[in-house]
C-alpha cells in the first residue's frame, strides 16, 4: 500500500465512524426527551470521572483479546467465528482451576489462564481441522460450535461448580490467590491490561516478523501461491486457528479472574462478536487493535452511562456498530473518490 492509499483508508474509516456517530445523535434527538443531556453523557460521560474512565479500560481488555484472536484467524482468510465460544469456554476452564486448586498467588492465575488458553485453542482448532480434513466451512462449524460451548459450559457450571447456597446459578467463589491484582484504585482495572498490551506486541511481532506469521499472511492473501511456494498450508491454517483460540481463551480467563469473584455468566458475553468489529476496524492488524478496542469500549460505556440517567436505552450502540460494519465492508463506499485519487496519482 502506498502512503496515500493508507491515508485514504484512515480517512475512510474515520468518515465511517463519523457518519455512525452523527446517526447516533440523530437517533437520540428523535427518541429522547432530554436529547442534550443524553448526547452529553454519551459523548463525554466516560471522561467525567476516574471510575467511568476505568470502566472504559475494563471494557477494553476483553475486546483487545478477542480482537487480536480474530485478527490472527482472519489473517489466514479463515472466517472462524469461534472466538466467542473460546472466550466463554476458556473462562469456564479458568474458573475450575480458580475454584478447585490451591496454589501460591502468581502461579495460580498463571496456570488458570494458560489452561483457559489451551481450551480456547482446542475449541478454535477443531473448525480449522474440519476444514483442512474434509473441507467443511469453518464459518458454519465455528458458529455452531459456539452453541455447543454455551450449553456444555452451562452444564459444567451447573453440575460441577455451582454454589447451591448462592441463590443464583453461579460458581463457588474463586480462591483469593487466583484473582488478578487491581492496578488503579477506585476502578476495577486489573493486571489483565498489561497482559493484553504484551499480547498486542506478541501478535504483531508474530504475524509480521516470524516465518510462521509470514506463512499465515501469504495463505490469507493467496493460498494457491502459498501451496505453489511449498508452504504447508494445512499446518499454517491450524496454527492460526489454534493461536487465535488461545488468545481468546486467555482473554476469557483474564476477564473472569480480573473482574469477578465467581463465574456468573448465564449467557454468552458477546465479546467474541464485538471482537469481530474490532478486527474489521483494525483491518486485522494487531497494531491497530488497541485503537479500535478503545473506541468501541468508549462508545459502550458512554451508552451505559447515558442509559443510567436518561431515557435512552444502551442497546442503541448496536445500531452504531451495525452501520460501521456495513459501511466498512461495503467496498464501493467512497470507491469513486478512491478511483479519482488513483487517476490523479497515475496521471501526474
Amino acid at each position: 500500500m502506498t502512503k496515500s492509499q493508507r491515508m485514504f483508508e484512515v480517512y475512510r474509516t474515520g468518515l465511517v465512524i463519523l457518519i455512525a456517530l452523527l446517526l447516533a445523535l440523530v437517533i437520540i434527538l428523535l427518541v429522547s426527551d432530554v436529547p442534550g443531556e443524553a448526547m452529553k453523557l454519551f459523548l463525554i460521560g466516560p471522561l467525567d470521572s476516574l471510575r467511568h474512565f476505568g470502566n472504559v479500560l475494563e471494557m477494553m481488555i476483553p475486546l483487545l483479546f478477542t480482537g487480536l484472536a480474530i485478527s490472527v484467524m482472519f489473517s489466514a482468510s479463515q472466517f472462524n467465528l469461534g472466538a466467542e465460544g473460546a472466550f466463554f469456554f476458556g473462562a469456564i476452564g479458568a474458573a475450575f482451576i480458580a475454584v478447585n486448586w490451591h496454589l501460591p498467588p502468581v502461579i495460580h492465575p498463571t496456570i488458570a489462564i494458560l489452561w483457559g488458553g489451551l481450551i480456547g485453542s482446542i475449541f478454535c482448532g477443531i473448525p480449522g481441522f474440519l476444514k483442512i480434513k474434509w473441507g467443511s466451512s469453518e464459518l458454519v462449524s465455528s458458529l455452531m460450535f459456539n452453541y455447543i460451548a454455551y450449553f456444555f459450559g452451562l452444564y459444567l457450571i451447573n453440575y460441577f461448580l455451582r454454589d447451591v447456597n448462592a441463590g443464583a446459578m453461579v460458581s463457588y467463589p474463586f480462591a483469593q490467590s487466583a484473582k488478578l491484582i487491581r492496578l488503579i484504585p477506585k476502578t476495577k482495572v486489573h493486571f489483565g491490561i498489561i497482559i493484553a498490551a504484551l499480547m498486542v506486541v506478541f501478535t504483531a511481532v508474530f504475524l509480521y516478523r516470524t516465518r510462521w506469521g509470514y506463512r499465515i499472511l501469504v495463505i490469507g492473501k493467496n493460498i494457491r501461491f502459498a501451496r505453489y511456494s511449498g508452504i504447508n498450508t494445512d499446518r499454517a491454517i491450524i496454527l492460526s486457528q489454534v493461536l487465535g483460540g488461545f488468545i481468546a481463551g486467555v482473554g476469557g480467563s483474564i476477564e473472569v479472574l480480573g473482574m469477578y469473584r465467581r463465574f456468573t455468566w448465564q449467557l454468552l458475553p458477546g465479546y467474541g462478536w464485538t471482537g469481530i468489529i474490532v478486527a474489521i476496524l483494525a483491518r486485522n492488524n494487531p497494531i491497530y487493535v488497541p485503537v479500535a478496542a478503545f473506541f468501541l469500549a468508549y462508545m459502550r460505556i458512554g451508552a451505559d452511562i447515558m442509559s443510567r440517567s436518561t431515557d435512552m436505552p444502551n442497546e442503541f450502540v448496536a445500531i452504531i456498530q451495525g452501520i460501521i460494519i456495513i459501511l466498512i465492508a461495503a467496498s464501493s463506499f467512497l470507491a469513486k473518490q478512491r478511483h479519482k485519487m488513483v487517476v490523479k496519482e497515475a496521471m501526474s
Binding site: T2, T210, Y214, N222, R224, F225, Y228, S229, R338, V342
Partner: protein, 521 residues
C-alpha cells in the same frame, strides 16, 4: 481528410486508468472505415485490449468520446454495444462447453416453442448462418468436443447472429495452429467482402501484413498513428510498437547436454472427468539443454506440469528429479531437489498480489537460515538486501521493493516471479508460458536468462503455446497432442512451422522408435 469522413466508428481522446494506477490508454484516437480490416497492434500491455473493451462496453473510460456514424454514443455494457452492431470475439472463449453449437449460438436470443427452446429452429439458424458466411460448423455437436479453431468460428457466428457489423477479434490467432490461421484469414476476407468491418488485434506483424488494410499502432497506452499497411514494412511497425529496433532472435550456442535431470517414465494422468489427460508418456530433460513442449493448449501440458511440480497427482508411471522419485514428496520436497517453476498463470500461482515485492520474492526461501536470525525472528535487513539485489538484477521497475505487486505492470510482475524462481540455483526449471502477455523488453530479458541458466548447467523444460518462442528457444522439441507425444525433434531449428503444425493437430505422428529417442539416461 476524406478517410476521416467515411469513418463508421471513431474513438476520440480516450483515457483509461485502472484501479491499480496503471494508465492503459492515454488520449487515444482510433477510427475505422466501413468495410475494412483494421489492424490494432502493440506490445502486450500497450492498451489494445483495454481500448477494445471500452468499445465493447466492458470498461469505461475516464475521458473521451465514441462516435458511431458521426453520432456520439455511450456504451454502458456489452448489450448496448451489441445493439449498436459491435461484436467481440474474446481471447478466451465465452461458450458453454456442455451445450451444442446451435444452443450456444442462439443463447440470449433463443427461438422458442412455448416455454422450451426450439432446437430445430436453432439448428436451422445455425446452418443457415454457417452457409451464408462460409464458416463450417456442425450445429449439433457439443462445444466441449470441438477443436479450438472451430470454437472460434462459433464465437464469430454468435456475434454475427446478434447483428454485429463491426467485429472485434482479440488476438484470434494466439491459440491457432498455422493451418487454422490460414483458414481463419480466408474466412475474414470473405466477411469483409460481404461488407462487414473487422478490427483485428494482434502483435504478430506478418499477420497484419497478410490480412489488414490499415493498421493503428499503439505503444504504452498511446496511439502512434494510423498507416496503410501497404506503405509500411514490418520493421517500421515493429519500431513504432517497441520504440526501438528489436531482435527477438535468441542468441545461443548449441547445447551441450549432460546427464538427465528429469526423467518421466510411462506417465499417465487421469483428470477429473476420468479422461487420460496425459497418456503413457516418457521423456527426459538433460542438464544443459532446453527441451520445449509444443502443442495446442489443453493437450495435457497443464496436467503434466502439475504432476512434475507436485501441485497435482498422477495415476501411474514414474517421475524422478536428480534421480529421486517424487511420488511421495511434498511440493516443498520437490522444490528442495532444485526444481523451479514459472507457473502458467502468474496471478493465480505466481504471486500474492496484495503483498509487497519483498514478501513475494522470499516465498520459497522465507525460512532459509540466511533470512532468519538465530532467534525465532526473520531478519528484515537480510530480506531487504536480498530483495534490493534481485530487483536490481532483474530490473524490476518499481518505486520501492515494499510496493505491492498488484501495482506493477504484467512484465514486471513476471520478473518478480522469474527473479524468485531463478535465484535458488535451480537444477531443473519448468518454465510454463514464461513470457505470456508481457512486453518485448521483459520477454527478451527472460529468454536470455533462460539460455544463461542452461549454459550454467540447469535443465530447462519449456512449455509454450507461442510457436515462435518454443521453436527459437528450445534445443530439442517434443510435440504433445491428446495427452501423447506425437513427435520428438532433436534439433529444434531443423523443423518448419508447417510440419510442426501437422504434429500439433495430430494429423501426423512419428514412429514409436523415433519418439523413444527423447529418453536419455
Amino acid at each position: 481528410m476524406s478517410e476521416e469522413a467515411d469513418a463508421i466508428l471513431k474513438m476520440e481522446n480516450i483515457t483509461k486508468v485502472y484501479p491499480n494506477g496503471i494508465i492503459a490508454n492515454k488520449g487515444v484516437n482510433f477510427s475505422v472505415t466501413a468495410g475494412e480490416i483494421h489492424g490494432l497492434v502493440g506490445e502486450n500491455g500497450a492498451g489494445k485490449t483495454t481500448l477494445m473493451q471500452i468499445l465493447f462496453g466492458l470498461n469505461h473510460p475516464e475521458k473521451g468520446k465514441i462516435l458511431l456514424e458521426g453520432r456520439e454514443i455511450t456504451i454502458g455494457n456489452p448489450n448496448a454495444a451489441i445493439a449498436y452492431g459491435i461484436g467481440m470475439v474474446h481471447q478466451h472463449f465465452m461458450l458453454v462447453p456442455s451445450l451444442s453449437v446451435a444452443e450456444n449460438l442462439v443463447m440470449g436470443v433463443e427461438p422458442r416453442k412455448g416455454l422450451k427452446l426450439d432446437t430445430a429452429e436453432a439448428i436451422r439458424i445455425t446452418e443457415e448462418l454457417s452457409e451464408k458466411y462460409n464458416l463450417n460448423v456442425d450445429a449439433r455437436s457439443a462445444v466441449r468436443d470441438l477443436p479450438v479453431g472451430t470454437k472460434q468460428k462459433v464465437e464469430i457466428l454468435k456475434a454475427l447472429h446478434r447483428g454485429a457489423r463491426i467485429l472485434i477479434l482479440d488476438e484470434p490467432t494466439a491459440v491457432l495452429t498455422p493451418q487454422e490461421t490460414d483458414e481463419l484469414f480466408d474466412e475474414l476476407k470473405l466477411l469483409k467482402d460481404q461488407g462487414n468491418t473487422i478490427i483485428f488485434i494482434s502483435h504478430k506483424l506478418n499477420e497484419i501484413k497478410a490480412l489488414c488494410d490499415r493498421v493503428t499502432i499503439m505503444r504504452s497506452g498511446k496511439s502512434q498513428g494510423v498507416f496503410d499497411v501497404a506503405d509500411v514494412s514490418e520493421q517500421d511497425i515493429s519500431r513504432l510498437m517497441v520504440g526501438r529496433d528489436v531482435i527477438l532472435q535468441v542468441e545461443k550456442e548449441p547445447a551441450v547436454p549432460k546427464e538427465a535431470v528429469l526423467q518421466v517414465k510411462d506417465l499417465t494422468i487421469v483428470n477429473r472427468f476420468r479422461k487420460h489427460a496425459v497418456d503413457d508418456i516418457s521423456f527426459s530433460v538433460r542438464k544443459g539443454e532446453i527441451l520445449g513442449i509444443a502443442g495446442v493448449e489443453g493437450n495435457g501440458q497443464r496436467e503434466l506440469v502439475e504432476a512434475l511440480t507436485g501441485l497435482g497427482k498422477y495415476a501411474a508411471g514414474d517421475i524422478s528429479i536428480t534421480g529421486k522419485d517424487i511420488k511421495k514428496l511434498s511440493i516443498r520436497g520437490i522444490r528442495d531437489l532444485g526444481t523451479s517453476h514459472i507457473p502458467e498463470d502468474r496471478m493465480t500461482y505466481g504471486c500474492a498480489a496484495d503483498l509487497s515485492i519483498e514478501m513475494n520474492l522470499i516465498s520459497y526461501k522465507h525460512d532459509h537460515p540466511d533470512l532468519n536470525r538465530k532467534s525465532f525472528l526473520m531478519d528484515m535487513n537480510a530480506i531487504r538486501d536480498v530483495s534490493r539485489e534481485l530487483v536490481e538484477e532483474y530490473r524490476i521497475l518499481c518505486s520501492t521493493p515494499q510496493q505491492e505487486v498488484r501495482r506493477l505492470s504484467g512484465g514486471n510482475i513476471q520478473k518478480v516471479v522469474v527473479a524468485r524462481e531463478f535465484s535458488s540455483d535451480p537444477k531443473l526449471i519448468i518454465a510454463d508460458q514464461p513470457t505470456r502477455g508481457i512486453d518485448v523488453g521483459a520477454t527478451e530479458f527472460i529468454r536470455k536468462r533462460l539460455v544463461e541458466l542452461r549454459d550454467e548447467g540447469s535443465a530447462v523444460l519449456l512449455i509454450s503455446a507461442d510457436l515462435n518462442e518454443v521453436m527459437e528457444l528450445s534445443d530439442s522439441l517434443i510435440v504433445m497432442y491428446g495427452g501423447k507425444i506425437t513427435a520428438y525433434i532433436e534439433d529444434a531449428s531443423s523443423i518448419s512451422e508447417e510440419k510442426l503444425g501437422l504434429y500439433m493437430l495430430g494429423l501426423e505422428s512419428q514412429s514409436e522408435d523415433e519418439i523413444g529417442r527423447v529418453c536419455h539416461d
